[in-house]
Symmetry: C2
Amino acid sequence: MEKDWDIIEVLRHARHDWLNKIQLIKGNLALNKVDRAKEIIDEIVVEAQQEAKLSNLHLPEFASLLFTYNWENHMFQLEYDVLEGYKCDRLDDSRLAEWTKSFFSLLNRAIQPFNDNHLSVSIEPQKQGVRFFFDFSGIIIHKKDVESFFEDFPSDLVLSLQSFTTQELSFDVLMRYGEENTEE
Amino acid sequence: MEKDWDIIEVLRHARHDWLNKIQLIKGNLALNKVDRAKEIIDEIVVEAQQEAKLSNLHLPEFASLLFTYNWENHMFQLEYDVLEGYKCDRLDDSRLAEWTKSFFSLLNRAIQPFNDNHLSVSIEPQKQGVRFFFDFSGIIIHKKDVESFFEDFPSDLVLSLQSFTTQELSFDVLMRYGEENTEE
């Protein structure tokens, strides 16, 4: 992470996020849109379940990066979801967090600021490792930087590029589990 | 604090607390009690404002203690509120957190476990220092321990005992601001 978060700050940001959700429910109830309020509550619960799933992957550095990313000022909005599957075990958390940071940092430099930029990350624990699906929508203004990033892609990660235009970038990264697991 | 909280854990507990509140709203909406749901939302907002006020007192150790206390297993439930008043400045945060911990620890030892024990803390920044009003309701089974605690009360805190029975204990503690402030 780019900064150390203390309890007060973490709770401040979390409170801010939750209060926004509560205000959304409140606003709909004030307009007598009870069904919409119920839908929002269901969405909130699903979102919280995703957060819980990410917490349970035993990837504290990577999870903390994702949890706190939207609290800092960046050029894109981050979303994530965790798919059901195998138990995520013996993945190199620091290495994963380090690479993810380097990709987020590249993206921040390569995209148009103050545009409606979104990055969605799907995390799918598989048998041999964890598959991460990154799906960006927005405007990429420095395509060359992104090309270089993919050309110098680290050899410990398996890349599968799916789409790369000025308005969309989507790719898969597979990170294999560590030694101990493959010996089983 | 008795343990180091990391981001994942802090968010896990905060999420749990917030989801309980959301479920309360959801439950009332399911029963078509829209007015009660609105009341609960208002209560949640007030509670969040108290949390924000406590965060803004610049007493990180003391605030973190209060924020995380109910997340650990203790013999009483803690509540707090922060009254409007003077700016809280140059209070010895570590000393305050240390004394508060010693009082909480005494209370845990002195009260009847698994009873409906509650401690409410009101924090009122005043001109010469901060006044803390502690109001316990529950069952005190070791009165002697509490008596000793008050007999050996630290001289840097101004105690004013208001009520002390087996079912209630309430007292005021004034902690004065540090040197720099009194020199002004």
